[in-house]
């Protein structure tokens, strides 16, 4: 299935050759996947010699993964089918959502999708905070006010264990999405920066999310890069996210923004405000300073600015590029804006929800 996801349609012979499995085994597996509705046959094509080969492709538009992003003032859900097509995206404005909100939303989304005849193969929740992925617990999410929230267990109980549940960090999920479906497709080493109220990094190294020894790699938002005048939700002062995050931008420009509003109109409103230029220049410089440090440590090929950085990217990207150019090693690192914007984390969570299926760790066939 991973071969089909990454290569599109392949004949059974190609699948056997590339997987190293016997052709008969491939035939059996494809037969089972056809029965499960995961793959379909295309039109036979003459290959020039021998009998025409019939390509097999992932279809499975009734088989999907559900991704949920919990953030400070919204919860977003994305369903993606087995072939990687987006089936649905929804965003609800909820201020500082609590676990009960997430459980209720999951209940509604699962019911809605199942009523449409969709079978959910997995569900991943992306949360801005420290996640114990093994236990599915949100250890600490300062901007949500969550501490030791056993989210996976509550969701499993709600769903009677019918659907596999995982919890991951939002930046890691967004980086997965950019890696598969976004601006960093094909880039092996890059760093994604969430730009919402919080600031986290999803680090992709050699094509995989770098997790570190406790799964906490990329928690760069609470590095001290500013002075004591910047108060952070974590209780510290001078944290990077308190200097360059959405609250800092709102404070500096006096323009309130909520994620539910059209980000383009937000950018337009910002452009009309006196003092905006200066505020953005300051935020761009602080953003560039931290990005240059990340680039020095990780030597990524690309930095992707996501979330609310996207609509004001025109103002930020030159400042970040300048900081990289002035640094000791950052000249080879490009700066890109996310093409998935505020959807990235929920898209990546949906991708994550299907991972075990592609990897063969979760079976489609009873």
């Amino acid at each position: 299935m991973r071969l089909l996801r990454d290569s599109g349609a392949l004949s059974r012979s190609d699948l056997a050759r590339r997987s190293g499995l016997a052709k008969a085994t491939v035939g059996t597996i494809i037969g089972q996947l056809q029965q499960a509705g995961a793959v379909a046959e295309g039109t036979a094509e003459a290959s020039g010699r021998g009998r025409p080969s019939t390509p097999v492709a992932l279809t499975g538009h009734t088989l999907a993964g559900l991704g949920i992003e919990v953030n400070v003032d919204y919860v977003a859900t994305t369903a993606i089918d087995l072939a990687g097509r987006r089936l649905s995206f929804e965003e609800r404005i909820i201020n500082r959502p609590q676990m009960a909100d997430v459980v209720r939303l999951v209940r509604e989304e699962v019911a809605r999708l199942e009523a449409e005849g969709i079978t959910l193969l997995g569900l991943t929740v992306a949360v801005p905070g420290l996640i114990d992925r093994v236990r599915g617990v949100v250890v600490e999410a300062p901007n949500l006010g969550w501490t030791d929230v056993d989210l996976a267990r509550s969701l499993r109980e709600e769903l009677d264990g019918r659907i596999a549940v995982a919890v991951d960090n939002d930046a890691n999920c967004a980086a997965r999405a950019e890696s598969l479906h976004g601006v960093a497709a094909g880039v092996n080493d890059f760093v994604y920066l969430t730009g919402t109220v919080g600031l986290g990094a999803g680090i992709v190294h050699g094509g995989e999310v770098l997790r570190g020894s406790h799964g906490l790699a990329g928690e760069v938002g609470h590095q001290r890069l500013g002075d004591d005048s910047h108060h952070c939700a974590c209780g510290r002062r001078g944290c990077w996210e308190a200097v360059v995050g959405l609250r800092a931008l709102e404070h500096a420009t006096q323009v309130p923004v909520s994620a539910g509003e059209d980000p383009v109109s937000y950018a337009e409103r910002l452009a009309e405000i006196p003092g905006t230029y200066r505020a953005l220049a300051g935020i761009g410089a602080s953003l560039g300073r931290g990005v240059a440090q990340l680039a020095a440590t990780l030597d990524p090929a690309m930095i992707v600015l996501g979330g609310s950085f996207v609509p004001i990217g025109e103002a930020l990207v030159p400042a970040v590029e300048e900081a990289l150019a002035a640094s000791f090693t950052g000249r080879g690192c490009s700066v890109a804006l996310s093409t998935l914007g505020l959807h990235a984390a929920s898209v990546g969570a949906a991708v994550d929800a299907l991972d075990d299926v592609y990897a063969g760790r979760r079976t489609l066939v009873a």
Copy 2:
């Protein structure tokens, strides 16, 4: 050979089982390695059933890798044999060595070792700077004053191509050494910090050195963590290495140090100087600040302080631990002092010089 290095003595049956190779193939390979002097048979042991098995172990004390560390005021060489035993260590005090010094030293060391009947299987030079490992070129080493130095080519010419030559960053080599022979043995995710005139990080992630997209990962010494009063050899101001490196320590304490002197006596002299405590506290705080940022990004299990940090470690470690404890994610990261001290980079370079042999990319048998 890698199996024998990592597991010690193994029987031919064990080798076949663990490598997945046929027993006959293993027999042929072991025969060839015996002829090359790389392995030797131990005493047969009865295994309880079947005939007694004869363990095979790496010996090869006449087969070695040569590691050379070039630093600001010394060049160190270490030879390690195939079984991982150190055959020799030598340090020469040379102020700001140039490429001709390195070539001359290599010529002498190779001649000396070959006169002792040792066959050199590879040679790696560790340099504090930006290295293009593919071409073997030192792109920039500010503290040595080197720019675009084609070190590998000069050494290959000197040696008539008889010995494989590589060039790597000193922090990456030191991290390899700590990982195999030092305080971080068995730790999968850690960061080694060189503490000499320069400051670089060797990042080990999942047991491998993290290199980044251009091989420049870990170049953290030129992050801006200080103010304009700190002038750096790279031409910038406020670089981390200008704040916490050896020159900053000398400047703050007025105690000159050269690498040739006994580091313990240096620590003793430091302890007698008024104002040393304050200077060390300041350096410890700045070191802790940068370490906390690295920990936030990478979530390592351990930070290893190396080089000249070791003799003053008693003063630095508590400050670094404090910074980690106060940070958002650093509480799970321990702080250790290198047990290899100033030898780490040359030991790691010698380990690197043997890598292709263990991996089977370079053959011992004509």
